[in-house]
Amino acid sequence: MRPAVHRYSLATRLAHWVWVLAFFALVSSGLQIFNASPQLDASDKSDPARRVLSVDSPQDGKGTTTIFGRTIGTTGWLGWTDDGMGGKGARAFPGWITIPAYQDLASGRRWHLFFGWVASICWVAWLISAALKGTLQKMLLRPRDLRDCLAMQSYYLKLRKTPPPYDTYNPLQKAAYTAIGLVIAPLVVLTGLALSPGIDAMAQPLTALFGGRQFARLWHFAGMLLLIGFFCIHIFQVATQGFFNQMRSMITGWYRPGEHEGGTA
């Protein structure tokens, strides 16, 4: 067995777990906020003619979800769900996935805005620290990595025997980290800010950039879906690439290279 290497700095480990916490708090409180008005329109003001998604309860005991005008029955999952108080009711997302479990927009907003700050401050702090230490430069996708992305994907699909040569992070990891850290996460924050009437007054072009307030709400929701997608793939990779080794390295910093060959998550 090769000696363990110190792979993650304290700053990275700390930031990682703060983001895990913030991610869960933000998604669950965000769904609570969504429940107060479970429609998404591709417009500035609310406009049923430009409705992309709507979750409804047309009658007691029945839940429906309408996407681009196509309605499907989602009773028990969306529209008519658990009300977080032991019963059932007309709620878009079920109580088991929202914070608080019961309908409470005021508290949902408090959770969301608090953890929005936590995640953003953590992001800025980590970015500065990683840039100063050079970690960031190792993670950023560069144009020359694009060709290797394909080779790496072929390797994962077992179409290639060896991965392309790389330093700390393989080109697909770089692509994922760059997309999440520098594109999607900032867009989710900006689309969230664009919903705010105070920000709209202060920086009108921001809300306009996303197509108006309701459209920004739609992008904000879509950004959440992308983050959830990243989260699921990330967990899958951690679970399949030496789960305990990976977890140990993100908690203590130490990783044993010999223990499991293959990419990192």
């Binding site: 003001k45 479990a101 408090r110 009437p197 105070g198 007054a201 309701q214 679970a239």
Partner: protein, 246 residues
């Protein structure tokens, strides 16, 4: 197969644990107090700066959505409506040099501002209306707030089923914003009872609950701690932010 099961079960477990843990932290461990710290940061960073977007006539919602507490159903309001609001007076008092009791014709004779602005509800929806009325700053200038005054409290005619009256408040900086309006008309017609007749507030730089309907009295104060539950507004007393710019 084992791996997939492990992944799926760990994700669901983490998701399912999140809601009860969060709910318990808030309900039994006073975590709500920690969360509230974000509000002062929002107020500091965003505040009231710039101007809300103004729209064209074509953008207006012909049927402006009605939301919030029910239209006042008491005898006084009914008699106001039946008499075309002739007995109505908008009282401006508290820490002011000159107390006012403005009738509707007096308000109509003051300089009128027209704004086509978007109303952003805290629930998430938005609607656009054409509002006309008197700038809040103009009405306050007539009354002349005293030095030491900090807030403007709007007492309203509507109340919830438990009898708690609606009220709202702004600080003097927010009240001085050129788009803070005492609206008398919506979409070219006098306000109808459901939209807050005869006078409602419009604060397009903040969420809709700040734009109080059925305003009867504007009280200038140094603190709102003794009004309602002391949080500065009806919805603020239910846990919503006093600073509603986000």
């Amino acid at each position: 197969m084992k791996r997939r099961l492990f992944v799926a079960s760990s994700i669901s477990a983490a998701l399912a644990a999140c809601s009860p843990i969060g709910t318990t932290l808030q309900d039994h461990f006073g975590f709500g107090g920690v969360l509230k710290s974000a509000e002062s940061l929002d107020h500091l960073v965003i505040g009231t700066r710039g101007m809300a977007k103004e729209y064209r006539d074509a953008d207006v919602d012909a049927q402006f959505r009605v939301n919030g507490l029910d239209t006042p159903g008491d005898a006084t309001y009914a008699s106001y409506v039946s008499q075309g609001f002739r007995p109505y007076r908008l009282v401006v008092d508290g820490d002011v040099d000159r107390k006012l009791a403005l009738s509707l014709p007096q308000l109509q004779k003051m300089m009128q501002q027209t704004q086509i602005t978007r109303h952003d509800c805290v629930e998430g929806w938005s609607a656009i209306g054409k509002w006309q009325g008197v700038r809040l700053a103009d009405a306050l200038a007539l009354a002349r707030p005293k030095t030491g005054a900090r807030y403007v409290v709007f007492h309203c005619m509507d109340m919830d089923p438990d009898g708690n009256p609606y009220y709202e408040s702004l600080d003097l900086h927010q009240a001085a914003h050129p788009q803070a309006l005492l609206a008398l008309r919506l979409n070219g017609k006098p306000l109808d009872p459901d939209h807050g007749a005869p006078v409602r507030l419009r604060v397009p730089t903040q969420l809709g609950y700040k734009s109080a309907k059925w305003v009867r009295r504007i009280e200038v104060v140094s603190t709102f701690a003794a009004i309602g539950q002391g949080q500065g507004g009806y919805w603020e007393d239910q846990g919503y932010e006093w600073y509603a710019g986000i």
